[in-house]
């Protein structure tokens, strides 16, 4: 047994494998013991109840899928009265993902979910900001900093900022989140995309556009993880297209302290368990005692080359 534990700020996770928001729920308890994974990251909730987008809500692509689920939410009261008591039976840290349409609403919701039993708040700032014509907060450093400052003022819990790969300024956005008091970055959410049925000439998603996920986006998420890990001092959690042990290792080597597994859980609900076991065996076989011997160990040549691409700050 190698030591798979990893620290995300003041939280220690027993291993670096956790689910991505929206691809995990209490229903997975029917498949395996949920206390074996590093943390429990819940589907994004909003303060109000919302019904989500029209169907079709998903469509399949080579190497991945598009989704426009929207954020159907049963609201904050349901979360307090039903979800929180359910998750209390587990010892894995509970990470609550929240979303809102303005910095002030975000802060109010963060305050409302800062409850015993909640280990961290993941701010899904990849969602539209109504104060910026629906542009996602995490598209620009300014709106990222504003919303993260409001959140910082509202809670003492560890705050994770979930970034979007759709920004052209990933480094500036990452630094803005750090400057505003984020404890960690989750890199990243889905890539905005679209698909059309050529026979009906209709968009394949009810919502027209949606978020791409799965192995096809891995290089994008890995690149952004690398950029962010070099640019900030706070921990980075990699996310996007992770399906195999090699994927996990690539993200760790690029600088992630932990990873989130999303869409692959739809293909194989037990994938997180397999990744934990495979990582353990891989480390044991190489005599690697702890994750620190892997995290951020990308070969030095990368640094020089990265400067040309603006990866360094």
């Amino acid at each position: 047994m190698s030591d798979l534990s990893t620290k995300i700020g003041r939280l220690t996770l027993q291993n670096p494998i956790m689910p991505a928001s929206g691809t995990f729920s209490e229903d997975l308890a029917a498949v395996f013991d949920l206390d074996r994974i590093g943390a429990h990251v819940l589907k994004t909730i909003t303060a109000e109840t919302r019904s989500g987008n029209p169907t079709p809500r998903v469509c399949e692509l080579p190497g991945g899928m598009l989704n426009a689920i929207g954020i159907p939410s049963k609201g904050i009261d349901y979360f307090r009265e039903h979800a929180l008591p359910f998750w209390a039976r587990y010892s894995a840290p509970l990470v609550v993902s929240i979303s809102a349409h303005s910095a002030a609403e975000f802060a109010t919701l963060a305050r409302a979910v800062s409850l015993p039993g909640v280990a961290a708040i993941e701010a899904n700032i990849s969602c539209p900001n109504i104060e910026a014509d629906g542009k996602a907060f995490a598209m620009s450093p300014e709106s990222t900093e504003a919303v993260m400052r409001a959140l910082r003022g509202a809670t003492d819990l560890p705050l994770w900022a979930k970034l979007t790969p759709n920004t052209g300024e990933p480094i500036e956005v990452a630094q803005a989140a750090e400057a505003a008091g984020a404890d960690a970055l989750v890199v990243a959410n889905t890539v905005l995309g679209m698909a059309i049925d050529i026979e009906s000439r209709r968009p394949r998603l009810g919502n027209v556009m949606g978020g791409m996920s799965g192995p096809a986006i891995k290089p994008i998420a890995l690149r952004m993880t690398y950029q962010c890990a070099r640019a900030v001092a706070i921990p980075v959690i990699g996310c996007g297209g992770i399906a195999t042990l090699d994927d996990v290792l690539e993200f760790l080597i690029a600088g992630a302290r932990a990873v989130q597994v999303g869409t692959e859980t739809f293909r194989s609900p037990t994938v997180m368990l397999r990744l934990i076991e495979a990582l353990d065996q891989w480390m044991a076989a190489r005599g690697i005692g702890s994750l620190d011997q892997i995290i951020g160990t990308i070969a030095a040549e990368a640094d020089e080359a990265a400067r040309h691409w603006g990866a360094a700050s």
Binding site: T23, F24, L28, T55, I69, T265
Partner: protein
């Protein structure tokens, strides 16, 4: 696994690799696949389904799993069956499987049919692959000593699925076809109406077709006959996590969203919306 009145956890399911025993055409349109499956996936209930990880074949790269109703299961013999129609990339991949090949299956999933004791005379109405979904129900009805009438609808009589199977479970089988017009809504209304008048229908079971659904809703409301429908929706996870598979249901004067994979795929006929 847990008994939380606030949030009941799903019944147990498992992801396993099953061995293909046979996989051959039943008629021009459908194939029957039989698998050797381990006991952890064989505590099934009629109306439940599996999510199949369909193999890639040539240009077809089905990425997500495909939902498939359980056509037959036998825990003692370690057998699991699916009846499917080739529709696209996923089912084309399924059709390439040969005896001895492995198939990764996840299940059993969802909530199946119920059969309250007061439902003595059952009427099953379905068409096409929908009959696959209802096959295990017929077996259960026989085991529970219920009287069963199966109305099997098809384009032509030779395409009517599973009629012998229904008969073997003691059902009275009525085949209705497009070819002779007997499958039309008017003909069915008369046929089913006659059975209701004779006191031969306590409950309906159906699946798929919105035409049949509307007819059974109308007859059910008029005569106070309950029933259940197995519904379909595009799925991603199949176990309740992603909320891709929601449909609208009418409950009292409210419209509510439910996940077909988790609250369903079986729902009260009266609440379903076509």
């Amino acid at each position: 696994m847990f008994h939380d009145p606030l949030m009941p956890a799903a019944p147990r399911c498992a992801e396993v690799t099953a061995e293909v025993l046979s996989n051959s055409p039943v008629n021009g349109e459908y194939r029957l696949m039989e698998l050797a499956a381990p006991p952890e996936v064989l505590e099934c209930h009629p109306g439940q389904f599996f999510q199949l990880l369909c193999p890639t074949s040539g240009a077809d790269q089905p990425y997500l799993r495909r939902p498939m109703s359980i056509y037959g299961y036998d825990a003692a013999a370690g057998r699991l069956q699916f009846l499917y129609k080739i529709a696209g990339a996923g089912t084309r991949g399924l059709a390439t499987l040969r005896p001895g090949d492995g198939l990764n299956v996840l299940g059993p999933l969802g909530v199946g049919f119920s059969m309250p004791p007061e439902w003595r005379n059952l009427m099953l109405v379905a068409r096409g692959v929908g009959l696959a979904t209802l096959a295990p129900l017929a077996k259960l009805a026989q085991a529970e000593g219920r009287r069963l009438t199966a109305i099997c609808s098809a384009r032509r009589a030779d395409l009517a699925m599973s009629t012998d199977l229904f008969r073997s479970y003691g059902a009275e089988v009525i085949v209705v076809t497009d070819a002779d017009g007997s499958s039309s809504v008017e003909s069915l209304r008369a046929l089913i109406g006659g059975r209701i008048a004779a006191g031969q229908v306590d409950a309906f079971y159906t699946c798929g077709s919105s035409r049949l659904l509307r007819l059974l809703q109308e007859l059910g409301a008029a005569h106070g006959i309950p029933g259940e429908i197995a519904m379909e929706q595009q799925m991603a996870c199949g176990i309740g996590m992603c909320q891709a598979c929601v449909r609208s249901f009418r409950v009292g004067d409210q419209i509510v969203q439910r996940r077909v994979c988790r609250e369903g795929p079986v729902f009260p006929i009266a609440e379903a919306m076509a």
